[in-house]
């Protein structure tokens, strides 16, 4: 498997030289990072070049990296606060619609779009990650012209993350309700949502009102850095290098 990936890596380095931001191999998978401006050109090469031959785009996925590494429980030192330290409002499962979540301290762009490509002729896969340059108004060039299957996936990423795909023929919401406000998969969108819908017998119609349910996530989010995970991480890093 890795031999095949090495060959693909070498091929990519040759064909899209100068446009690669990073090219990493992990878990038997190859991840390519390019800039948003280079994406349409790179995508065209990947699809048309006979040696690469990525004839299928299998998945497009938006990611919001703003809460990456945020935890709710200190694991490296002991505290005197008992279990209460686990139920403080911290990540998105716990805050209500009128609160703002804490920042992660992560620097770098917030939104990314991840593409998964598949080549039926050569039987290999590739992942492309492209970060959106502007956090306030994330945009990305559309790939519908290159692979038609991107159409609905891009609509989905727009709907759930608010990433605007330039050049998309029909960028409408797809999964959320008609008239929905906000982008629900962003990390600062509460799990309980903003509004709920019910039938009002007095007005004799369906109405929207602010949510009445309270957030309730019982298991705190924990990152453990004990020896088990450290060993794995160190091994992986040495394997990458």
């Amino acid at each position: 498997m890795s031999e095949k990936l090495d060959r693909l890596t070498a091929c990519l380095e040759e064909k899209i030289k100068g446009r690669i931001r990073s090219l990493r191999q992990a878990c038997d998978e190859l991840t390519l990072e390019v800039s948003a401006g280079d994406l349409p050109g790179v995508a065209g090469t990947l699809r048309r070049d006979p040696e690469l031959g990525f004839d299928m785009l299998v998945d497009v996925c938006g990611v919001d990296y703003s809460a990456y590494g945020v935890t709710e429980w200190t694991t490296e030192s002991s505290t005197a606060e008992g279990f209460s330290r686990g139920v403080e409002k911290s990540t998105f499962g716990r805050f209500t619609f009128d609160e703002t979540p804490p920042a992660s301290g992560r620097t770098g762009p917030r939104y990314a779009v991840v593409y998964h490509l598949l080549s039926l002729t050569h039987n290999h896969r590739l992942r492309i990650r492209v970060f959106c340059e502007d956090d306030e108004f994330p945009t990305m060039p559309s790939l519908v012209e290159v692979w038609n299957s991107a159409n609905w996936f891009e609509r989905e990423a727009f709907d759930l993350f608010g990433i605007v795909f330039n050049g998309h023929p029909d960028l409408r919401r797809i999964l959320t309700d008609y008239g929905f406000v906000g982008h629900p998969f962003r990390k600062d969108f509460p799990l309980v949502g903003h509004v709920e819908m019910r039938y009002d017998p007095e007005q004799r119609r369906v109405i929207y009102q602010p949510v009445t349910i309270t957030p309730r996530v019982l298991v705190p989010r924990v990152i453990r850095k004990d020896h088990r995970y450290l060993d794995d991480a160190a091994e992986e890093k040495s394997a990458d290098a």
């Binding site: 992990a26 878990c27 038997d28 998978e29 991840t31 004839d55 299928m56 785009l57 299998v58 998945d59 996925c61 990611v63 919001d64 809460a67 990456y68 590494g69 935890t71 990540t91 998105f92 499962g93 991840v114 998964h116 039926l120 039987n123 896969r125 992942r127 692979w147 038609n148 299957s149 159409n151 609905w152 996936f153 989905e156 919401r173 797809i174 999964l175 959320t176 309700d177 629900p184 998969f185 799990l191 996530v217 298991v219 705190p220 989010r221 924990v222 990152i223 453990r224 850095k225 088990r228 995970y229 794995d232 991480a233 992986e236």
Partner: protein
């Protein structure tokens, strides 16, 4: 006489042929479809967002509810993603059990598809025939997990428990005489594997029976031949996978091309269509049921000869047995930690694809090292197939849209997620 103009037709969301909650806005010219605009999302439950707020194991049950017609294959995709990130390998017996249940699920899915597709097109009998066999397979689900549909049976590191030695029996009642019960219980007297083996012996004849009703049926052919033709080039361009791609003549099957679990040890063939129309896709799926039956048979033979563990022995991932937990302090701590906090998955990302009955089902998992996933993206095959409906239905009659929806084999649990 006034000129007939284009008009818009609303199809669904409450339509028996909409297979759930599909709302189609059809632009018609007379009875010919000019444009189809599917409105989806009426079943959107935010599975991916919910999974982000839960420890890894608690989301396995959500995977069942994605494509609620092929429950265990969804679990397989999710569980495999976690296993690959953690770098653990389930015991061989667990992998055989997974393959066997994946194929049982494939038959379950295709039976439901065949029954409802034929029902939409007008063949009522098929529905009854298919549900007769589904019942036996759902009993296998029940025997192994206690649940008839949403099994939550696959776990990271193996499967929840080994195959049971007995099957549930029928009891005489007002509706079932003693003689009936005796006949029904005949195949249930042994273990689950005996029951499945008996099923694999019966099933090919059942498929023959379905084929007698449909394959050469004049009406069936009139309704499906030449409807929704997709060329291999267009199929790739639109991202079609599974039987939709194979129906167009592309021999692509992840079980063969990128084998996972123990599919590389199985002997089976990939059926491929020629014309890429609804009829070819029907033939491909019918043949897939026969091939699944072959795989199940091979798994049963292996599982009968090779007892062994079905879960890895690492109690940082898999809970210790109940009896051990009651006597051993270490096991109690493991149990407590696993069920209150879960396990942390090393930082990284993985895309784990399986050959789902409907196409390529995949889970893209990003972990930041926490006990909950950072992002779970489900790659649903039906979502992509439904997006091709517009192109496939153009120029066809309104009644053919029903055939096409059936031929796409869509389930809204996975499309809307």
């Amino acid at each position: 006489m006034p000129e007939i103009r284009n008009y818009t037709l609303n199809f669904g969301p409450q339509h028996p042929a909409a297979h759930g909650v599909l709302r189609l806005v059809l632009e018609m010219d007379g009875e010919v479809v000019q444009r189809a605009d599917p409105h989806i999302g009426l079943l959107h439950r935010g599975t991916e967002k919910l999974a982000e707020s839960k420890p890894y194991n608690q989301s396995i049950g959500y995977m069942d509810r994605l494509d609620y017609m092929s429950m265990m294959v969804n679990e397989h995709g999710y569980v495999k993603a976690i296993e690959r990130l953690m770098g653990i390998e389930p015991p061989l017996r667990a992998q055989y059990i997974r393959v066997m249940f994946d194929e049982i699920t494939r038959i379950l899915n295709h039976l439901l598809w065949l029954g409802t597709h034929a029902l939409d097109v007008g063949a009522m009998t098929m529905f009854l025939y298919c549900f007769r066999e589904r019942e036996d397979l759902i009993d296998c689900y029940e025997a192994v997990s206690g649940s008839r549909m949403h099994a939550t049976y696959y776990r990271p590191g193996g499967v929840h428990r080994d195959l049971p030695g007995t099957m549930a029996q029928y009891e005489p009642s007002r509706w079932k005489s003693a003689a009936d019960v005796k006949r029904l219980n005949e195949s249930r007297s042994g273990s689950l594997l005996d029951f499945i083996e008996d099923f694999t012996r019966r099933f090919p004849a059942c498929v023959d029976e379905y084929e007698t009703l449909l394959t050469d049926n004049r009406i069936w052919k009139q309704r499906t031949v030449g409807i929704g033709v997709v060329s291999p080039e267009r199929a790739r361009q639109m991202g079609l996978t599974g039987p939709m791609l194979r129906g167009s003549g592309v021999a692509w099957d992840l079980r063969k091309k990128q084998p996972y679990a123990v599919y590389d040890r199985m002997d089976f063939d990939i059926p491929v269509g020629v014309n890429g129309d609804s009829y070819d896709r029907y033939l491909v799926r019918i043949e897939e049921m026969r091939q699944s039956n072959r795989i199940i048979r091979q798994c049963v033979d292996w599982l009968k000869a090779n007892p062994g563990p079905v879960m890895i022995d690492d109690h940082k991932v898999a809970p210790p047995p109940r009896e051990e937990m009651k006597a051993d302090m270490e096991s109690l701590i493991h149990h407590f930690k696993l069920f209150t906090e879960g396990y942390c998955v090393p930082e990284g990302e993985v895309y784990s694809a399986v050959e789902h009955p409907k196409g390529e089902f995949a889970v893209y998992l990003i972990s930041d090292g926490a006990n909950k996933p950072y992002r779970v993206k489900v790659r649903p095959p039906g979502f992509v197939h439904l997006s091709a409906l517009d192109e496939m239905s153009r120029g066809h009659m309104l009644a053919d849209v029903v055939t096409l929806i059936g031929s796409l084999d869509i389930v809204f649990g996975e499309i809307d997620r």
